[in-house]
Amino acid sequence: MRRVSTSFRAATGIATPVFEDLSLEIGAREFVVFLGPSGCGKTTLLNHVAGFTRPESGSIEVDGRSIRAPGPDRGVIFQQDALMPWLSVVENVEFGLRLRGVAAAVRRRAATEQLARVELAEFAHHKVWELSGGMRQRVSLARALAADPQILLMDEPFGALDALTREQMQTLVLRVWRATEKQVLLVTHDIEEAVFLATDLITMSARPARVLARQRLDFGSRHAAGEPARRIKSDPAFIAMRESVLARLFAP
């Protein structure tokens, strides 16, 4: 991402900059978390990367190719699941492959494999509207993975979930990230979640958004390697990091 600048035009005609001269380089296989207050433009940034919207100036490049439109190389998981209710769970997971014209047997095998990864194999033939919110997000994750993207974009993917389900989803996403070695870009306003998941934590200010800090963390890697979540989250180093990020975010 180089020199991205976006502004929203307000009704009065005065352009409100969302962010100016934001320049970031992101490494492969990183778990990048954008943390910032609500409305700071982190979702706008993610939408630019997804290709849903385009910055007013600047460019976003993936592997040197400039992004112009949404594409299957960037899988997206939204805050609310965007599943197709007329399709069963497994049909939802193979949706991207079906669009690409992959043969039925091949895509069914791929979808079943991804459903097993998110621990929903036995729900393959359920209706999606019969599932809980957390299960639907797991279907969304499996659907994105089945298309085999280079990057996973997650826009507050656990925002609508209860605390317990949220922790389980964090563990699942870290495990998937470690197993698939994909780059993950996740947006959240939950400080603990950000510190826990990120290998590359980018803290952003309120509008116009600037990068307040960029830190390398290893709590997520530790959890992915097997250390229990509760032990990490009660580790004094984790608590200290959480508090310092919090202090920076709320500094005047």
Binding site: G51, P70, A82, W86, F95, G96, R100, W129
Partner: protein, 267 residues
Amino acid sequence: MIPSPDAPVSRVPGSNLAISIATIVGLLGSWWLVAALAIVPPLYLPGPMAVLAKLRELAVEGYMDATLAQHLGASLQRILFALVAAVFTAIPLGLAIGVNRALRAGVDPLIEFYRPVPPLAYLPLIVIWFGIGEFSKVLLIYLAIFAPVALTTAAGVRSVDPIRIRAAQSLGASRAQVVWHVILPSALPEIVTGVRIGLGAGWSTLVAAELIAATRGVGFVIQSASQFLITDLVVAGIVVIALVAYVLEIGLRLVQRRLAPWWGRVA
């Protein structure tokens, strides 16, 4: 008053059915009572028994050289032709104007211009242009069905969750694939609602359509009977139309539930 949490809520599906049945029985009962007590002369309000007898006579002996089945068949055929034509034209047009703003701006005034005009008002024009044949009758019903189907389809398309479209795009969907795999199935429940509304409009136009030199049809029976002041036959015709329309409506509701069991459960 705030209902207490312990207050019985009518969750039993049977209890609503019981209320519906009670209403119908009550209505029939008071109708019968008014007729039996001869409060109103039968010319104005024939009793339910007289209507039932007339209905049997219509079914067995017929009216104006055709039995009830033949009259009903003629009417149903007109409605069915009009409905099929409307489904194959109004749904694609509704999809197109739901997706394309410019097309919507162009077509919307045309639909909104003719939609509120009662069919009886433009009936003379249709007769002048297309004559008194079967085509004019079907066209009149078709026009009544077309507008609600096209408009609800367009509204259904516009109410598709944009996140769902983005999800499909990020999975590699082309514009055509988005329409076919996301927008059409998402809008399907609304489209069926449009067909339900359209069918209702079609029935209400049937009598007007059968004003055009018809010799068969339930609408024709009602008009003809009214000219000869055969009030019980008028009521019998009304009952037939109401029953058949109701059966079709129930059928479409079942189709809707079958096609979109998720409707009302997820956004």
